[in-house]
Symmetry: C2
Subunit: 400 residues, 2 copies
């Protein structure tokens, strides 16, 4: 620890994390603000959502021009974080624009796909610019993912762990801990200075007793089972659309039209965008309709299956929160706390990242009743099995 | 996840975690209360500390009668948690009694050694009683360690992670997550009902900025370097005493006499016992003398090197808190927060368990300024290198 060699290595880790964090923080902050404008376009106008098929055509065209696989997305970055795959330098601008188009014209999707891919590919540019060899690719991508997640979500601790935990369940490449922490804290600080607001909710605490742990255990199991349904729906809709419409241009037009028509039939835009309004309604007001989680799932699966972009995570937050808000009170839990537990434990089920999920629960809800999150996350992790959003994620161990 | 087989396995995990948690919770609660009585004996009388050499002779005699290696301690349990070593059924009663003797008669030691070994060996009894095969030994030991740590410290989330993280740095055997969570929550709940009070402190929060992160980074690095000194002192004093006094009876008498004499010279019992009073003084009142951390280190190293029992963790909390309380204000940090950061990041440095350390910081200090703990823990983890309290701990990766 005292040698010149290790000082040099650690100094490089600090510097690299800092540069990536600042750079990705600025881009992430800009992205979050443009996303706000995109949301205004969708919510504030009647006409924007009718242009979704056109936006979709543009997205598909960009991906094909850039030579980037349309499917893949976060899976590409997960493979890159294990050093198995290089990252196209066009990935950052393409995912950036594609996500804005998706959100502005009425798609239902998240934004973490953009955050992770943007971060990862910017970090690769920094690595190459800094003349660091290919053996640092995994570290660079992890730093970039931390920074991207942190900038867009404002949850800095969650972000640092997510990058370490996502690519192989049960293995934490802790050599990346310090650079990831630095880049996450730096990116989050920059993004906050640029006006990005973190997702935060106050809950009322209660004293945990045996009954309480039993209730959250059952809710966690239910969310773990729901996560299987969610993952199969995403992959099933994607595969189904690809089989029915092998031409990606036709596919994106049909899928987008489906999103539009469903939205018109339902008569609400509540299921478009990331679904943050659903989350706030479920957690702040303890209010959700039983069909909310299923409709959000369906519209997001259609949007992403069509070839539009953004990611699945925030929609999964909304699905879990709406589900918990409806199911929790049946078990005797207060609706807002159950919504919070639903959001966190569904996240755990679909990503297979229990530590990140736990941290998400602590960071977003100010460490309110942490034992309940622990129990629900552990149960959901167990029950969700080996299904997940990311086909390229590896498992180091059996879950039981 | 739906099959009868997996239901059976998961049901077994739930039941096993619950039984171990309840059982260890009762024993841990009893142990904590008896430890309270032992502390009264030491603090409330003038004569008890003069009997330390006698108590030491008794401890060494018990270990030799029981055929248990005197050194080893928590290392034995770490090996058992990887399934590499069986656990003597005498370990639980022997460590229980030895720790009470150490604390009652004026040794300076922790109590987590007892908690982990008691928990692990009781869990093995449950496994054998439940006719579970040897392939469940690792899982059983991890459940027992979770429950023991949880019962004695009252930090249930920290306890669950510690058992998973301790034996191999960088590998999380997440198949044990659910049973460990159940046993930790159960043991903590039982122990609390039996009157065990968890360590908890309120700190004042501040808005983290770049300067703040720089300050905690430097403090974290300092604690990482301190952790190297701490580990070398523990192992050096142990090895030195063993070389000078190969006879364990003579060694324990000389070492105990050393503790006694030093205490008389210093004219204070403040460095005996676990050191919780030092911790409270540093964190609640922001008060510590510069020599506190070194004297606590020396007396604990002598106590444990002599062959007395208990563990190193709470003394390390005290060393880290006293150190942070003195060094933090020099860096411009408030003394109480710096003491908290010192406690948590020294723990990280000596155990090489960053996630557990982070959780400790969150749980003990109510998630106050969590980003500061994250930064300091990551820095300490990096700087502390491959030194640690536990010789049998493995490292899956390079730390850089």
């Amino acid at each position: 620890a005292f040698s010149g060699e290790s000082l040099r290595i650690n100094g490089r880790g600090l510097l690299f994390g800092l540069v990536v964090g600042l750079l990705v923080g600025v881009w992430g902050g800009l992205f979050a603000r443009l996303l706000g404008a995109a949301n205004h376009l969708r919510e504030g106008t009647g006409w924007a959502m009718f242009l979704l098929p056109l936006a979709g055509l543009l997205v598909v065209w960009m991906y094909r021009r850039g030579g980037i696989k349309t499917a893949g997305g976060t899976d590409l970055i997960i493979q890159a974080a294990r050093g198995e795959q290089p990252v196209s330098r066009l990935l950052a601008p393409v995912i950036f624009a594609a996500t804005l188009l998706t959100h502005g014209f009425g798609g239902s999707a998240g934004r973490e796909g953009a955050a992770l891919q943007l971060g990862g590919s910017l970090a690769e540019l920094v690595r190459k610019g800094g003349k660091l060899g290919a053996e640092f690719q995994d570290l660079a991508i992890m730093c970039g993912m931390s920074a991207g997640f942190s900038a867009v979500f404002g949850s800095q601790i969650t972000a640092a762990l997510f990058a370490l935990e996502i690519s192989c369940v049960g293995i934490l490449p802790l050599g990346g801990l310090f650079p990831c922490v630095v880049s996450s804290l730096a990116a989050g600080t920059v993004a906050r200075a640029m006006g990005v607001r973190a997702m935060r909710f106050y809950l009322s605490a209660s004293t945990p007793d045996v009954l309480f742990y039993g209730q959250v255990l059952v809710l966690g199991i239910a969310c773990g089972l729901l996560s299987i349904l969610v993952c199969y729906t995403f992959s099933g809709v994607r595969a189904g659309l690809a089989r029915l419409f092998p031409n990606p241009y036709l596919r994106v037009v049909v899928g987008s039209a489906g999103v539009m028509v469903l939205t018109l039939i339902l008569g609400t835009k509540a299921y478009l965008g990331t679904g943050e309004a659903l989350i706030a309604q479920a957690i702040d007001q303890g209010r959700a309709a039983p069909q909310d989680c299923l409709l959000k799932l369906l519209l997001t699966a259609l949007t992403l299956g069509a070839g539009l972009k953004g990611g699945e995570i925030v929609p999964c937050f909304a699905i879990g929160a709406s589900f918990g808000c409806v199911v929790g009170p049946l078990l005797g839990l207060p609706a807002p706390y159950a919504a919070a537990v639903g959001m966190v434990s569904l996240f755990c089920g679909v990503t297979n990242c229990p530590l990140t999920a736990l941290m998400l629960g602590f960071e977003v809800f100010f460490f309110c009743n942490p034992g309940g999150f622990l129990m629900a996350v552990a149960a959901s992790f167990l029950v969700s099995g080996y299904s997940g959003l990311y086909a390229k994620q590896k498992f180091a161990f059996s879950k039981t």
